[in-house]
């Protein structure tokens, strides 16, 4: 616990110091990065210490805020979320560390580190807050700090728009949380989380569940509350997107994992809702990822997809608990937590690699990329590894998480009956299709973006020698991706503590036993592949090996723009799913005998936005316009309103239903 307090202190002091030094961007950035790393090291120590321990560590101090107290509780569930926060946070800080390769961002870079450190500190406090007011305050600090980071490049209109949208959605969610906390603390009479269970709120479970879903699900990017994420992730700098995508969304899942058990006994209905939202979200988001042109939006939608998978796994865990099948529940929760870990690693690696390439080529347009791997082998290679890791193919980390999700679904389908069995089999089919689409999505991102030859000439100085800090941080992430895949059992065994908290009736070590053979398969496959590669080298060694052009079918002047484009690669899939995607195509075909110009442009909007939010918000703003009539340019009118409001409030005191404090 002391290590954690020290970590938070280091982060906050670092934030303050880098703010004070903001007029010297380099110095400020150094201070900020050093504080982020130092704090993260301390935090990681605290998390590793708390992870296997059954008992929580407490800290409490008085706080002047009403109902608030600076009470912290570090337990295994908090540690699960704290650990990736520290690891990814530190590596993101190192990745973005100032160096000769990075052009100065002007005064905002110092402020950027201030917000970065505050974000780390506030997320850490969210995981350990034991008091609802403190949790809400930290939650709000997290939102504001990340907002500041999203609008780092505030010169761009898109970034400002994305930031505003993020702020609006976050605050609707925060409103839901406030309401939830008021209800549950009103029922139990305490603002300490530890005192909540047992008390029965007068509000039905379904409403509370909905509030949890809106409040925490928005941050977790559960469809349909994900809409802020793609814009915000695309607008933010690479290391911020990495931290938000890999870690900040997991705070939402932390909330779900912490508060759903507090609402009452696990319910089958809630489990089905989570599974349904998760499966639909994963499928829909990966389809959208597949058709994006902006590389960072591809990654952002892929984050939404993975959030869907985690939600689905949590649903399976909940289903197991509701139906008194602790074996299934253990697998489901372990799968959710493991997938959170593996996704944090792979996605930050990808955002780092792709972000560096986008920075170097001054373009985020996938259709202009190509040939990066040949020109920038180290960064390109690490990015390819990240792509393989998130595609969930054997031998890298993503597979372990996804395998465990599949395993939980299969186990449940065999053991459970009736509607649950149907839901689980539908889940299997949905995850299978999601996996295939993810593979297509990353084959497109890597195959079109990094392989082949550049479709548009990159700037002359694009592929300078990458800085050691950046390469080091990416390599560390890649290394962890490999280690998790090759030695899955110890990693999953580390999750036994939190899983035991979530599923008290289950055998928490089961998940580790279940994944043990995967390490063997990963090693076996790697061994066989290495042997075959060696065999191939030996076969080729004594024979003539020539370099030539790609087979061009005899065409005399092939050029780079004739390569297959990202849009064409995804087109067959897009056409099958056209009724869902509603891609709009603007096509101007060649005309006349000597056609000069033709164009083809496609755009796929997010249908949650165009179909749900836009009409709803449009209606809301029309309603608000009507209220404009209440405004008059006279002070007396407003005074009248105030008197009226006062009278109404006083009048309420005479009603019997109001409880006076």
């Amino acid at each position: 616990m002391n290590a954690l307090l020290a970590a938070v202190a280091v982060w906050l002091v670092g934030a303050l110091a880098s703010w004070l030094a903001r007029h010297h961007p380099d110095r400020s950035a150094w201070i900020g990065a050093a504080a982020a790393v130092g704090g993260a090291a301390l935090g990681a120590i605290a998390a590793l210490g708390a992870l296997p321990v059954r008992d929580a560590q407490f800290f409490s101090a008085p706080w002047s805020v009403p109902y608030g107290a600076l009470s912290l509780r570090l337990d295994a569930l908090a540690a699960v979320f704290l650990l990736p926060l520290c690891i990814v946070g530190a590596l993101c800080a190192i990745y973005a560390a100032p160096g000769p390769h990075r052009r100065a961002n002007g005064p905002s870079s110092g402020a950027g580190y201030t917000a970065f450190n505050i974000l780390l500190a506030s997320m850490a406090v969210v995981t350990v807050a034991a008091n609802l007011v403190l949790l809400l305050a930290a939650w709000e600090a997290m939102t504001l700090a990340s907002y500041a980071l999203v609008v780092t490049e505030h010169e761009s209109r898109a970034a400002r728009g994305a930031g505003f949208q993020y702020l609006v959605f976050s605050h609707v969610a925060a409103g839901a949380l406030l309401l939830l906390f008021l209800i549950i603390s009103g029922a139990s009479g305490t603002w300490e989380i530890a005192g909540l269970p047992g008390a029965r709120a007068a509000v039905p479970f379904a409403w509370l569940f909905l509030l949890v879903l809106v409040g925490f699900g928005t941050k977790a990017a559960i469809v349909p509350f994900h809409i802020w994420l793609p814009d915000a992730h695309a607008a933010a700098p690479a290391h911020v997107s990495a931290l938000m995508s890999g870690v900040m969304i997991t705070m939402g899942f932390y909330g779900l994992a912490r508060f759903i058990p507090l609402l009452g006994p696990p319910s089958e209905g809630a489990a089905f809702v989570l599974m349904g939202l998760g499966a639909a979200g994963a499928l829909g988001a990966v389809l959208l990822a597949l058709v994006q042109r902006d590389v960072k939006r591809v990654l952002a939608y892929s984050t939404v997809e993975n959030a869907g998978l985690v939600t689905l796994a949590m649903g399976v865990g909940l289903l197991g608990q509701a139906l008194k099948a602790p074996g299934i529940a253990v697998l489901g929760w372990a799968a959710a937590l493991l997938h959170i870990w593996t996704h944090a690693l792979a996605k930050s690696l990808l955002f780092g690699g792709i972000g560096a390439i986008a920075h170097a080529t001054h373009s985020r347009d996938l259709e202009g990329w190509g040939g990066i791997l040949a020109r920038w082998p180290v960064v390109g290679g690490l990015t390819v590894l990240g792509g393989l890791a998130i595609t969930a193919v054997p031998g890298l980390s993503g597979f372990v998480g996804e395998w465990l999700i599949f395993r939980a679904l299969f186990d449940g389908a065999v053991v459970l009956h009736g509607a649950s069995r149907v839901a689980l089999v539908v889940g299997i089919a949905a995850v299978a299709m999601t996996a295939a689409l993810t593979l297509a999505c990353y084959a497109r991102l890597i195959g079109i973006g990094l392989l082949g030859v550049p479709r548009r000439a990159p700037p002359a100085d694009a592929f300078a020698r990458p800085g050691a800090a950046m390469i080091g941080s990416l390599a560390a992430l890649a290394g962890m991706c490999v280690v998790v895949a090759w030695f899955p059992a110890p990693v999953v065994a580390a999750l036994a503590g939190p899983v035991a908290m979530l599923v008290p009736a289950g055998d928490p070590t089961r998940a580790a036993d279940v994944v043990r053979p995967l390490g063997g398969i990963a090693l076996l496959a790697s061994g066989v592949i290495i042997l075959l590669a060696a065999l191939r080298t030996a076969l080729v060694r004594r024979r003539p090996v020539r370099a030539s052009v790609t087979w061009d079918c005899g065409y005399a002047t092939p050029e780079a723009r004739m390569q297959y484009s990202a849009s064409s690669l995804a087109e067959p899939i897009g056409r099958v799913f056209a009724p869902l995607l509603r891609t709009r195509v603007e096509r101007h075909g060649p005309e006349g005998h000597w056609p000069a110009k033709a164009s083809w442009r496609s755009r796929t909007p997010d249908r949650t936005m165009t179909g749900v939010y836009r009409p709803a918000l449009g209606g809301l703003s029309a309603l608000m316009l009507r209220l404009r009539g209440l405004q008059e340019p006279r002070v007396t009118t407003y005074l009248r309103y105030m008197v009226l409001a006062l009278l109404v409030l006083l009048g309420l005191l005479f009603l019997p239903i109001v409880v006076r404090p």
Partner: protein, 213 residues
């Protein structure tokens, strides 16, 4: 219900799916004819005692469902010169998914229904419900008038299967009456299709709204 009856019922389901994915009308009609044969042998396959009642029913079903009705419909499409369902409002993939959902729902509902006719109806009820719902899928997603007739037939076959659960109870005359009813219905529909085609030069049922006084 013994094994052979189950196989026939599954084949009935398969023919329903085949109609869902087929857009060539003549193929659809032939599939429905095959389904007619399957329905006719269903009571025999599920081990009902052979007798006069059953013999008449089997032969009547084959004659009407597998020979006469398909003939009429084939004649109608030849006269009207339509071959394909050109613009179904949803594609074959979505139709199949809807069909699967219908089957799933039917099996789910069937376990919750009280078994009026005892264990003999175990496979019949879900298949009949599934046929009903898949008939509705065809009726609501296709536009050509003839496709609608096929959907109606599918729906009716579902009812026929349901009727078999009560085979011991219903007198022969009622069943034959139902068969005749369908026969007359489809006969009239075939004629109507032909007439629509001659009057409007199209079979698109959306154009029927133009027939207002």
């Amino acid at each position: 219900m013994d094994r052979l009856g189950d196989v026939v019922l599954l084949l009935v389901l398969m023919t329903n799916f085949a109609v869902l994915v087929t857009d060539r009308l003549s193929t659809c009609i032939r599939i429905m004819a095959a389904q007619g044969v399957l329905l006719a042998i269903l009571p025999l396959a599920s081990g009902a005692p052979f007798g006069f009642h059953l013999g008449v029913l089997t032969i009547g079903t084959i004659v009407i469902k597998a020979i006469v009705l398909p003939r009429i419909l084939l004649w109608a499409i030849r006269e009207a010169a339509v071959r394909r369902e050109l613009q179904p409002s949803i594609g074959p993939i979505a139709s199949v998914l809807l069909g699967i959902a219908a089957v799933g729902l039917a099996f789910g509902v069937a376990t919750r229904l009280p078994h009026a006719a005892g264990p003999a109806a175990e496979g019949l009820v879900p298949v009949s419900l599934a046929s009903l719902m898949m008939g509705f899928v065809v009726l609501t997603t296709r536009r050509k008038a003839l496709s609608l007739v096929i959907g109606y037939l599918m729906l009716e076959n579902g009812i026929y299967v349901f009727g078999l659960t009560l085979a011991g109870v219903i007198p022969l005359l009622v069943e034959l009456g139902v068969l005749l009813d369908v026969f007359v219905g489809v006969f009239i529909m075939g004629l109507v299709v032909f007439q629509i085609n001659r009057e409007l030069e199209t079979q698109d049922s959306r154009h029927l709204t133009e027939l207002r006084d």
